[in-house]
């Protein structure tokens, strides 16, 4: 016997149907482009600039 409430069961059933029809709906190529640009490239550039550019030790 399921321990899931009937309303939740209905909701999950609807979601499972949606997920089957929307297979592969994670991040797309554009999303990965933003992720790499903002999360990898930008920090790397900032780190390089921060290490080499400002004069002095601090």
């Amino acid at each position: 016997m399921s321990d899931i409430a009937p309303e939740l069961e209905e909701r999950i059933a609807r979601l499972e149907g949606d997920l089957r029809s929307a297979a592969g709906s994670d991040f797309d190529a554009v999303s990965w482009g933003w992720i790499v640009t903002l999360g990898v490239v930008l920090p790397a550039v900032l780190l390089l600039i921060g290490w080499w550019y400002p004069p002095g030790n601090y």
Partner: protein, 462 residues
């Protein structure tokens, strides 16, 4: 149904996930912009100058935000679930209580700090406006104002996520005020700013730089408890990437520059104090108003996220939304009323210990979702504790996740003592968060191969 869903821990249907990119960005920005930014900036200002410190902090914040996005983003935004529900495939149908405890302690801690800040700033604002006499004793007022703030937040959140969005629409203006404050200090004290020497700089230049990055990573890793409850309101993972990275990742370093600049030039990260020096009492009043508004928005989001997380507990699943809000707010109110000064003094240590766990947690989620499960989660299994369910593992706990979490925490502490900041040699090259994340991910992956071989964890059904 919409009201019920966004006050529950249930997965949201596509028709209920109505937050577009701008609405999500506004909410995330309001959440991230709070007076903790001053403390973060002040911490960086202990080791680095303004330009280098700002760049290191920004880089660290973006890296930390990336990790949080990859950890919680796909599951929460794709399946409409909160951060805690998203840990059930990794920690098990009962083991999720471990991340839930981390979430609760973290958010209670942050909320308590912010509301104590709010209360102290409100006292100063009343003094500046002439409502209270100069030198008015805050010891009696801070607890009362904390209680008042908790009451206002309770009333504001009675309508669930929609009220969170409405609060954000109003309070986001304080971010512009914060940037104005930064402009004032930079434009009027630039020569002093670039020439300032950090008070506690290490002789090792690389160590200082790495610490600036580590402070940034740790700061945005703290968003893990908050993020699921908000991004699940967006329609899909694609819609959350830019709002999360720019709406939540970018405001933290930007506003932290206020604390960084203040600490370097005026030896105080509190803008209410140095704005009086820079621009007189009027500017101080504006700053106090900003602080008051900033903390309000963030605490509202934290209370909402906490309440949603509590829905995962069976005993609280059927309770009214009002009860959930009260359960969430009572610990915050008690800290603010009974031990505000003690908590304020020890808060840095408290949070440092909490932050140790979130890097490994993200590592576990990232490796599980992208490598082990390849994006396939069983939404039904997340909401059942029936024997034999895919995420039952052993008695509801996945030992691979627990061991990996401990391993990651151990690596972190071995590299950097979060209380004393004593560090191992490798820390200056690696930070502490990144190796901790990688160690947890590796341990989890290796142990999960054994878990999968024994038919546990729902991997074979994926």
């Amino acid at each position: 149904m919409t009201v019920l869903a966004d006050e529950s821990g249930w997965p949201l249907l596509p028709t209920e996930r109505t937050w577009g990119p701008w609405r999500l960005t506004l909410t995330l920005t309001t959440t991230s912009a709070a007076t903790w930014c001053y403390l973060i900036g002040e911490s960086v200002g202990s080791y680095l100058g303004f330009i280098r410190g700002g760049l290191a902090l920004t880089a660290g914040c973006m890296i930390g935000m990336l990790l949080v996005l990859l950890a919680a983003g796909p599951a929460c935004a794709r399946f409409g679930i909160d951060s805690i529900a998203a840990t059930k495939p990794q920690f098990g149908s009962r083991g999720w209580t471990i991340p839930a405890a981390l979430q609760a302690v973290s958010i209670i801690g942050w909320n308590s700090l912010l509301l104590i800040f709010f209360a102290k700033s409100a006292v100063q604002l009343c003094i500046a406006l002439g409502i209270l006499a100069p030198g008015a004793h805050g010891a009696a007022l801070v607890p009362l104002l904390t209680l008042l703030a908790c009451t206002i937040i309770f009333l504001a959140l009675r309508s669930g996520a929609s009220s969170l969005s409405r609060v954000s629409n109003i309070l986001v203006a304080h971010v512009a005020v914060g940037l104005w404050m930064l402009y004032l200090l930079v434009s009027r004290r630039w020569p002093e700013l670039v020439g300032a020497v950090p008070a506690a700089a290490h002789p090792d230049r690389l160590w200082n730089y790495t610490t600036g990055v580590e402070l940034g990573i740790g700061s945005t890793l703290s968003w893990w408890p908050y993020i699921g409850a908000m991004i699940r309101m967006a329609p899909n993972p694609r819609a959350v990437v830019v709002p999360v990275l720019l709406g939540m990742g970018a405001p933290v370093p930007l506003l932290s520059l206020i604390g960084l600049a203040g600490a370097l030039v005026l030896k105080s990260s509190d803008p209410a104090e140095w704005l009086r020096t820079v621009g007189g009492p009027t500017y101080a009043i504006i700053s106090l108003g900003f602080v008051t508004a900033a903390n309000f928005g963030t605490t509202t989001a934290g209370v909402y996220a906490s309440a949603i997380g509590l829905r995962n507990f069976a005993s609280l699943r059927e309770r009214s939304w009002t009860t959930l809000l009260i359960v969430t707010l009572v610990p915050v109110a008690l800290v603010g009323m009974l031990i505000p000064e003690l908590f304020f003094e020890k808060f840095g240590s408290f949070l440092a210990l909490i932050a140790v766990a979130f890097a490994p947690l993200c590592g576990i989620q990232i490796i599980d979702y992208f490598c082990l499960r390849r994006g396939k989660l069983d939404i039904r299994a997340i909401y059942t504790q029936a024997p034999g369910s895919p995420y039952e593992f052993w008695g509801g706990f996945n030992p691979a996740a627990v061991i990996a979490l401990l391993a990651g925490c151990g690596v972190y502490v071995a590299l950097l003592n979060p209380l004393s900041y004593a560090s191992a040699a490798a820390y200056r090259y690696l930070t502490a968060s990144l190796p901790a994340l990688l160690a947890a991910a590796l341990v989890y992956w290796l142990l999960s191969l054994a878990v999968r071989a024994r038919g546990r964890g729902g991997y074979l059904q994926a």
